[in-house]
Symmetry: C2
Subunit: 192 residues, 2 copies
């Protein structure tokens, strides 16, 4: 194989992911991507394919990056409430990081689902379902209502993304998360 890649593929993907995360699929042009990565169109098309494929790779990279963090937060907690609080802390910390766009790429993409191609729409649903299963697995040991609670927790996560985008403060977002944690606590200590 002669002629090696002149750029770091993962680094470029991070830049593209951030761009989609900030502006959404429709409002991110190839010109934005070219400008953010410093690459030419030939390199982008040769390495990643078209815009839709570039988006799919961004979704996967996002899910992988933050999926690990969620996984770590959920595991090894003594109570369901502490696990869910740690889960929300991941989101709250990410939202508070000024180097990253607001909200959540998955939530953003779910909203755009009707105008995404079938492949990307399905991918978004699958990633969200995977997230639900992750939370449910962490709750299963504590309560028989894990399925319902897991869906509620994942939904609240999406809510935080919307509220952040709408301009809510860090305190407000933490408050929403804490109400949700108390709901999980009440559910698991009373009925479970």
């Amino acid at each position: 194989m002669a002629g090696r890649k002149q750029f770091d593929v993962d680094r470029a993907l991070d830049q593209v992911m951030t761009l989609f995360w900030q502006r959404g699929y429709a409002e991110t042009s190839l010109e934005h991507i070219v400008s953010a990565t410093g690459l030419g169109k030939g390199s982008l098309y040769g390495t990643f394919g078209g815009k839709a494929e570039l988006f799919r790779r961004s979704l996967d990279r996002y899910a992988d990056t933050y999926g690990r963090q969620y996984e770590a937060a959920l595991s090894g907690r003594p109570t369901p409430a502490l696990a869910i609080q740690a889960f929300f802390d991941v989101v709250l910390a990410r939202i508070a990081d000024p180097r990253l766009p607001g909200g959540c790429l998955i939530a953003l993409s779910a909203m755009a689902a009707p105008t995404l191609d079938d492949g990307n729409r399905d991918r978004v649903s699958a990633l969200l379902e995977h997230q639900r299963q992750r939370v449910q697995a962490a709750l299963d040991a504590f309560t028989p209502d894990a399925a319902e609670l897991a869906l509620f927790v994942v939904s609240t996560n999406q809510a935080l993304a919307v509220m952040d985008r709408a301009g809510a403060s860090a305190e407000q977002l933490a408050s929403v998360a804490s109400v949700a944690v108390r709901a999980v606590e009440a559910s698991t200590s009373a009925a479970g």
Copy 2:
């Protein structure tokens, strides 16, 4: 005034609102709007102004239409839990209506905030804050924690919009709402 309007402005606005609600701001072209309303560009520009103004009018019409429904649902309920359940029932019924797009125009627009013009971005925040105040007013009589709970309820409302767009079933959405209602119930009967 000679030369009267040949079309029903509110009817046209409903069609435009539905289009934005389905596809979002960026993915809705003037061509879509012309085609959906059957009007010419001259009529649209003469009556509403440009695309951004058309979007603003759609936001306001949306907020007005469903704001009345939320208001009615919240008022005159004997307990906070019943008020919030009725509130969520408005969203759930709207989502279940096959004639309307999924999710919520406000939530959709909040997600697109970074790429909206200042006027529309501020409008979205204002409408969401108005919604929060509406819920808080309904809860104020019952509990001292109304501010925090109202924010939680409005957030859950946004969560339902995201989950619907992601393909969640009516049962799943109802389940999320019921967990939230129980959280309100526990908060207001225990601490209040």
